[in-house]
Assembly symmetry: D2
Homo-oligomer: 288 residues x 4
């Protein structure tokens, strides 16, 4: 069912997130702890921003398992970035193919998803029919995730705003559309929608399941002035500084359990340009 | 722009088509002779039937170039089959991804394409809208080829017949639909539509370009009682026997130029269950 | 630590061993039951003989996990063979690279290994020094397994005999050499040497650890007149026929536990041309 | 026979070398101009230094052709580095495997090779016998190139010096050893030895063939204050600055032919820490 992480803060070697922590994402690729099935070996992806050279991110994906990818192992310590997304996949909807690996990329945006829309095939066509040509043609693979991102792109682009508020509104609209589609086609099952979207400057995550009384998949966050890996291990450090760092992850990466908190169920988590964190409930439209 | 071959006849090791001939398909993957650009290094695919164990074909594809694929080299001499399709790709529409490699497979059918629909994106959505849910959801990749195959499948399935006539009718209907779509959307350019479809028992090919006065891409055929590779080289042998073998290929595989003939421009080539060959003009609808 | 299987008997689709059984090798690639670590996701290999077309086997290997390889899934039901070897790897010595995947192949021989020589690097050079030029130059990868196979090839070739006795003698000689090398260089640890060698006609396996009082890794066998997968599941069937089939595997593939027996610890298992099974103790040289 | 490039100078996006120039290395992967065979499609490699985070380089290699690698295309504009090595391979000695891709890496060193030792197998074992255990065990693949690098590492490490002089001396010693080995074993053919070694701070190249009267493979260089890609194209710019940049390549990357000079035949090219260039003849030992 996949594991993901997203970091924003002072520039950091990718290694410090992917390999060094005790429960690193690489570790989660073969022994995730908060899933029934511990294996996420159906490919992986890494996206990162190098704002000094390009506003668009780089993406490195592979269908090989993250734990034995030599290129990833080589590059991780040399790639330093202030905004990093990474994802290990357990394939559900869609083949094990590079085009189905997260993060998905569109212009300056990256998107990752942990979860799934059960019986997605039944609404896929109707969803596609609502898409603009541009975002329809942009789709390369088969996943529900990529299609939801295309729907997000429609909302985000139409709004003609950028920034964290624009992103969260577009994600909210995406969820609303999905719910409407599911209702029209009588899809009863809950869809697990833990997502992260970023433009490299701001970031929005969601911990959401569109089924009353169900618990969404896990999503954790930790903040501090700086995330560091040193002799005492990896983790957030707090210091009297204006620096701020945020790390969001399906599972805590580090032993310091007290540093990690759960994103509240059915909430968005917002990270602004200066890495301040905030939450907003997902509007389910059910109360209405 | 890809090179393809299709064989039907007495069971043959794949090796005899892919590696042994002087101008084998492997050779064509890096030095095709009847194309401006000799390189077809963006993946390949092999499909073959083992009718004694399964009516559905096996497919082996890879994004690596055919010329250096160790698995293909290993397997080619051990895979013997009475119906073999192979394709080397020069990517145009669609990423270099396994899901975009030919032959495409649906149940007991295989399909390959050499050519392309220029500006396919402009009609992709309209084409998709005409598809049945089943064949829409079956699509895994991005190519014009796979989408045309889905359209073929709609026609072929609706006809509720099988055999060479049913296949050629469905291919004809596919071309007609494509032309109508292109007309609606004002796509002026000729589409090169050299295709092969087979169900393992019969086979249909096309050498077609939907532009008056243009010459379709090359497509050749050779027939005999048996195709053999021996000390004198590879080629069709004629013998007083009831056996019959047919080989269709973008380029002649063997030196024996006199054994190869061009498929007439804008014609279908039909191969029936007992490997007799026939031709039928493609109806362009232009005269009407 | 890898899982392997080897079959000899009436021709069988590879599918019946790799996918259909309840505890198939594919299943063992992510949830092996007789290992502390259930994951064997560092590539795989399949070798099979098609004696009607070629005395040398085909080999198909990949560094991708067996459980998500589309080519393997496609080919398994169409490849029927009377002699099949398959291996899923958990990398220890040697990178995750195609050249380190089992089965290793030399002319008409295949070899697979489950186990390892701890601290192999300390004797690698001395082992290599003993090799003939031919088998030294034949080595392509880094594994202890491939180097031991090269040593086997030296013994087997020098003996200038073929057949099951020649193979078991060469394997015995290989183990003896390894023990001598380990003694010279003071390697104390037990080496786990569960191996299978076949020339497509006869087959030899070993269940061996060169440490007194230690238990070798698991290796099981089952025999019958025919191995079949039908509505009641997969398994060996006994019938009054001259046919004979043997299956050797790190772990039982099927539920029918009573059909499987352990290869006695520190024994070779021999399968002759007509698929009769026999055992011979590994001579450890320790009693001498 | 491979194409290579090596850059040292002000930090530069890899894109400016690999994709942007008219005759970029990607272009050379399918249409090299200074080789009989224009195709270098058997994998590629990129090595680069990020001295601000790590003295050891990152390496990204793949057996896929450089021209269609999505990860490379994605990463090239975001990876900026003051020391970049890249190589596209046409396989001769050694399989098409990641372990046979250049650049080879050892600690803070990278090495690439264009050329080959004809009949390398005849001296491989003798060469290996001279190696220290450490560098023998470091070898992962099969190429003559990697073995020569291991020999280089022995000389370089023994010298216990670093810097450009130490590197050129070690490369000279490597060539001398190779010549002696070839003489002992009666290998008559010329070995083409265009190589580049760097520690990220200094760099040594060679343009050499160990056969009297033969012309070594092409190797070009260009220097300036800064290499830039702008609207007028890519190339070295000269400006009154202390900055200095050097680019070495099998073939000129840019149209500005007058900016490129050949490395003199049978010479080393030396690039020191401040990117000053110098030449030194290869001592052939033949005059002695």
């Amino acid at each position: 069912m996949c594991r993901l992480l997203a970091y924003k803060g002072p520039s950091l070697p990718v290694d410090d997130l992917l390999y060094k922590p005790e429960y690193s994402l690489i570790n989660q690729s073969y022994q995730a702890r908060e899933m029934a099935e511990p294996l996420n070996g159906d490919g992986f992806g890494l996206g990162w921003y190098a704002p000094e050279v390009d506003p668009e991110p780089a993406v490195f994906t592979s269908v090989s398992p993250a734990w034995n990818n030599r290129n990833l192992r080589y590059m991780a310590p040399k790639l330093a970035s202030p905004c990093i997304c990474a994802h290990v996949r357990a394939a559900s909807e869609g083949d094990v193919a590079e085009n189905n690996c997260h993060p998905f990329h569109y212009k300056n945006l990256l998107m990752m998803h942990n979860g799934g829309v059960h019986a997605f095939g039944r609404i896929k066509r109707a969803l596609v029919d609502t898409l603009s040509d541009e975002h329809y043609l942009w789709i390369r693979g088969q996943t529900d995730s990529e299609h939801l991102f295309a729907l997000f792109l429609d909302h985000y682009t139409r709004a003609a705003r950028t920034g964290v508020e624009a992103m969260v509104d577009a994600l909210q609209a995406t969820f609303r559309d999905l719910q409407a589609l599911k209702a029209s086609y009588g899809l009863p099952h809950g869809s697990a929608l833990n997502m992260v979207v970023t433009d490299g400057e701001a970031m929005v995550g969601s911990r959401y399941i569109d089924e009353p009384d169900a618990t969404p998949y896990s999503l954790h966050h930790t903040e501090g002035s700086r995330y560091v890996c040193d002799d005492s291990g990896c983790g957030m450090r707090k210091a009297p500084t204006h620096e701020q760092a945020v790390l969001i992850a399906s599972e805590p990466l580090t032993r310091e359990a007290e540093h990690w908190k759960s994103v509240p169920p059915n909430h968005f988590v917002l990270v602004d340009r200066v890495n301040r964190i905030a939450f907003r409930p997902v509007e389910t439209g059910r109360a209405a």
